[in-house]
Amino acid sequence: MKGVVYTLEVLFAAALILITLTFVFQFSPPTVQYDIPLMKEQGAQALAFMDSNYDMRKWVADGDILQLRSTLDSLLPDGLNSELVICRNECNAGLVPVGKSVVAVDYYVSSYNDEYLGYKLRLWMWR
């Protein structure tokens, strides 16, 4: 009988240790969020690429936001949501979700050929 009680005591002690371990190690240390800076870089590069390889400045000059958005969608990775607006100082973030990590990138478009524009493209991205 003593042996059984002793065994139960040992098991109880071991259980306490395990419970303690479980509580101590239940959460991994916070990992670095690689996707946030990557997202920002991808957005900036997609806008720069659109400027170099497509007629982006003309679309900005014409206010052709649909063309800009569809081209940008084809350049950004799948699974990345985005919202793009043409603005100057204040940019309307109406469609940007609340409660998510959102990355914003500004790309300034000062001119289109010999015409001064003074616009910027504000791109928001989230997963």
Partner: protein
């Protein structure tokens, strides 16, 4: 008593089993959480390292080194002559040989029964090293790639032997079968009574002295021209390409020759970027742009557009229409010409890209010339240079990885239109941590055309 004990035993056994069950359950929970904790730590460390390597590699799209200098192969104050690029220098003249884009690093000089002649008195009294990258087109029994005067500074190949003849009657023979269709680095270092070596791809081939004179024979200066592509005596012409031919007035050490033969070992960074100028050309079919403003504006078909882009004749040029489609072009002096179709009262913007690289294929452009076009000052854009891409694709992966000191990697360049891709690097493992990052680029293809592409780096 016996009955109570039996009952107690049963009870005790039940408790015991329950306790063990709880214990196993707790153990499983503990193992699960601790494992997750450790896994998180491991992933965190490994991903960070791999991600940093991938980002570092991907920056190749931003960094540029000179086309001839990636990787830098030849250097050192002892260098007497170095032949690379379309301008050979040293008052050299080419006969039956030409510069083309297919060198070991960038362009090279191709020979077919021809040669390059260099009028030079070469001072090699302190020793000499001859060096070249060689690409034979055919397996010919005997040929020479260089020579001077009566068997001086000469390198010969026969079926199974490389022979270096630095001076009178000194034959340094190394057993090696040169394969057609491959680049081979060859070096020969000679200093009387001190050094008599032949290197193939950086390896000392332990050459033997097979000539009538011993390896104590002094080097001889002579005023006869140095020939590339054959020896001084007629015959033994080389059929193939030479690149990075160099003559040093001293004997290079083993390590230096190895680093010339496997330059990837010295790489600190890969840089593929080059600059391109992007010109906007406005073709406006409105009244004020007509040369003769007394006539009515009509649709223009086959209007010749001529734009002065300050061309020097050594650039790649591409003109895209407003839909991004490359146009047939002609080049006349500093101008590029092409045809445009513009409806009445419409304005179209064409874009011309001028970059370093191979000259474009041109055609004779003719048509009407009724309006005046406007060229906007160029903006500079970054592209991936075709010669550097070719150098990367032809590099030694293992040596490059060791030189860069990073994890295993694979670099892939995919054309966004045709989806054709070319890649370089190790085989991506099916299991394990692999970090992949990509970015959009404009790259120059082998004919100098600019294409949209996606550069992907995988690291594991």
């Amino acid at each position: 008593m016996t009955s109570n004990l039996a009952n107690q035993k049963g009870l005790i056994q039940t408790d015991y089993i329950i306790a063990i069950g709880i214990f196993i359950l707790l153990f499983a929970f503990a193992a699960y959480f601790v494992n997750n904790y450790l896994l998180g730590l491991r992933e965190s460390d490994r991903s960070w390292e791999l991600s940093a390597d991938a980002q570092s590699l991907l920056s190749m799209a931003d960094f540029r080194e000179s086309p001839a200098g990636w990787p830098e192969i030849i250097s050192g104050p002892q260098m007497t002559m170095h032949f690379d690029g379309p301008d050979l220098g040293y008052n050299a003249t080419a006969s039956g040989s030409s510069y083309n884009a297919s060198g070991r690093f960038g362009g090279g000089w191709s020979f077919s029964q021809g040669f390059v002649q260099v009028p030079a008195q070469i001072n090699t009294s302190g020793g000499v090293t001859l060096e070249a990258w060689i690409y034979p087109n055919q397996n010919i029994s005997t040929y020479s790639i260089m020579g001077k005067g009566p068997e001086h500074l000469e390198i010969q190949f026969s079926t199974a032997t490389v022979r270096c003849i630095p001076t009178d009657g000194v034959y340094l023979d190394a057993a090696y079968h040169m394969q057609a269709g491959n680049w081979t680095h060859l070096a020969c270092a000679y200093k009387p009574s001190a050094t008599a070596k032949v290197y193939v791809n950086g390896q000392d081939m332990h050459a033997v002295s097979a000539g009538p004179n011993p390896t104590t024979t002094q080097l001889v200066g002579d005023s006869s021209p140095l020939l590339l592509g054959r020896r001084a005596a007629a015959g033994q012409e080389f059929n193939g390409t030479l690149d990075e031919v160099a003559i040093y007035n001293s004997t290079l050490d083993d390590g230096t020759i190895m680093s010339h033969a496997i330059p990837e070992l010295r790489l600190e960074r890969i840089g593929l970027a080059a600059k391109s100028k992007k010109y906007g050309i406005m073709v406006s079919n409105n009244k004020q742009y007509w040369r003769d403003q007394s006539v009515n504006v009509t649709d223009l078909v086959g209007e010749v557009v001529s734009a002065d882009l300050n061309l020097s004749g050594n650039e790649s040029v591409q003109v895209n229409d407003p839909d991004g489609v490359a146009q047939q072009i002609g080049i006349s002096g500093t101008n590029v010409t092409f045809l445009a179709n513009v409806a009445a009262n419409r304005t179209l913007w064409y874009y011309a890209y001028v970059s370093e690289g191979p000259a474009p294929s041109t055609t004779n452009i003719s048509g009407t010339d009724l309006i005046t076009e406007t060229v906007i000052a160029p903006e500079e854009i970054t592209i991936l240079d075709s010669s550097k891409i070719q150098t990367l694709m032809g590099s030694n992966y293992t040596a490059m990885r060791e030189g860069l000191g990073i994890s295993d990697f694979r670099i892939r360049l995919t054309d966004m239109t045709s989806l054709n891709s070319s890649s370089f690097g190790g085989d991506v493992p099916r299991r394990g941590d692999v970090v992949a990052i990509d970015r959009l680029v404009i790259y120059q293809n082998s004919t100098g055309g600019l294409r949209p592409g996606r550069l992907t780096v995988l690291v594991w």
